[in-house]
Amino acid sequence: MTAPATVRNAIRVRGLVKRYGDNTVLDAIDLDVPEGSVFALLGPNGAGKTTAVHIITTLLRPDAGEVLVGGVDIARHPDQARRLIGLTGQVSAVDPQFTGVENLTLMADLHHLGRQRGRTRVRELIEQFDLGEAAGRPVQTWSGGMRRRLDLAMTLVGEPRILFLDEPTTGLDPRSRRVMWDIVRDVVADGVTVFLTTQYLEEADRLAGRIVLLDGGRVVAAGTPTELKRLVPGGSVRLEFGSQAQLDLAAETLVGGERDELALALEVPGDGGVQALRSLLDRLDAASVVVDALSVRPADLDDVFLSLTGRRDGGEESPQ
């Protein structure tokens, strides 16, 4: 055990290509997702995220490239790979005419859990996902957030080792979104590898240990949220003052800042590092400016997104 233990890849993708006619949706992408981690595929609408998920989950066949899921080549042993995975896609995969219990029981039957174990598992999931009060009603009468929870619960009946979530919170209200995030964290705590796609930067930032930014079918950036944020300059330091005179004085001292006359504040570009802050404060001290308050806004993924894709975040057309 002298050499560092190699982390096994739950998902390994090499040179993945998918075309529809002349339209190249995925242009030779490589992905590695270590076991037990949360991975986010981030990108605007039409970047190819869903296509990638559909190929890796055996719904679509690629035109080129290799995909290993849990070490299994999905082209050669699709059923073996399917035993390891679970997908909750964008299109609701519940049977709306049936009740929550019936939907979950169908999954238990298809996973051959047997009557007793099946019932126990269904009961557990109903409790874990807080679906108890509606469980006996047809799903078509349920709210969107509850359906999404049922959708995920159905995926988890078979206890997949690798969970795919294709835009799990698109269209959800903020409260339901938070509930989904908590559920994802619980699943991860059980050791499940999560492959997530999202167009919400905040979501990737909060959940994922590693992010790949996809745009136009190509990988344009990859790394931890922190690494990605370091890729682009951004961030600022906001200084607030007690009087107009102080603000004027500060603006003279720190050229290039942006004035906010109403709030008597000045926003100065900078990454908020300790050194930079110290020199900033030293200069203000030297000019005898009194700073009432200081806050640092670090570079966020928004900045990364903007500078790498040329667009503000993909969720512009606000989710329905």
């Binding site: 989950t57 719904l59 066949r61 059923d79 896609g89 519940v94 049936f98 169908l106 051959h112 995926t155």
Partner: protein, 269 residues
């Protein structure tokens, strides 16, 4: 690898059953059209058509209309079978657009199981619809003259015909790119009993139409069914009918399975 094909097909069949139990309107609708046609043909055209049957009607039944009831019921039953195909195509097309099918396809389920469950459900639904038709036929004076064994054989033939129609309709439903198309393409099936010996003898039709009516699959099925219910001669119709049904069922299922496997190539969703 397909060790679970049968248990999974049973699970899928139970899903169809549950849907049928919860939403019985589709079954009633499938039975409704043939019942209306039967009333129309028996009470509006029955007397005239019955008189025109000559020797083709069943022997020993008095009255032209009564003779026509005996003649037309097998054709009406096949209208029910053919009409059910439309329901099958629609429900498969709708199911394929539903996200649950994508879920099934990411699971280690034998692909034939999903289709087999649909088909078994469709056959059962067809038989339920034909049972309703038979009940109404009995009410308006249809009297099968043969014995229970022949009736059982008639049920078997109906089930076989329903399997063939369902398999073909499953293919049509999968080939359709919308639910609307799926509801239209199987309609020609409903016409076929008319263009055979379902309502008038095929021999009464002119030239090429007569030839088509003699040789299309519904005619031997109709003739066999009629023989099994009211005792008209069957001859080699039974064998030809079974061969047609088995052939169409196998080809239809193979075609549907291929289309189902090819589903992944559809972009979107």
């Amino acid at each position: 690898m397909n060790a679970n094909a049968i248990p999974d097909a049973v699970t899928m069949f139970r899903r169809s059953l549950r849907r049928m139990r919860r939403y019985p309107s589709l079954t009633l609708f499938i039975a409704g059209i043939p019942v209306v046609l039967m009333l129309l043909f028996v009470y509006v055209f029955g007397s005239t058509l019955g008189a025109g049957l000559g020797g083709a009607g069943s022997a020993g039944v008095s009255g032209d209309r009564a003779a026509y009831i005996a003649y037309v019921v097998p054709g009406i039953l096949l209208i029910a079978v053919a009409g059910a195909g439309q329901g099958t195509a629609i429900s498969i097309a709708m199911d394929m657009t539903a996200g649950i099918i994508a879920r099934f396809r990411t699971m280690a389920i034998a692909r034939s199981s999903v289709l087999a469950g649909h088909l078994l459900g469709a056959v059962l639904q067809t038989l339920l619809a034909t049972a309703i038709v038979v009940a109404v036929a009995l009410l308006i004076g249809f009297r099968p003259t043969t014995g229970p064994l022949a009736w059982l054989a008639a049920l078997g033939l109906l089930a076989l015909a329903a399997t063939a129609v369902s398999a073909l309709s499953a293919g049509l439903g999968l080939a359709a790119n919308s639910v609307e198309t799926a509801s239209n393409t199987p309609m020609f099936l409903t016409l076929l009993p008319f263009l055979g010996s379902g309502f008038v003898p095929a021999s009464s039709m002119p030239g090429p139409l007569g030839w088509f009516a003699e040789h299309q699959p519904f005619t031997p099925i109709t003739e066999t069914l009629r023989g099994l219910l009211v005792g008209t001669p069957i001859g080699d119709s039974a064998l030809i009918a079974v061969l047609w049904c088995v052939g169409i069922a196998l080809l239809g299922f193979a075609w549907a399975l291929r289309l189902y496997e090819r589903l992944p190539e559809r972009p979107g969703a």
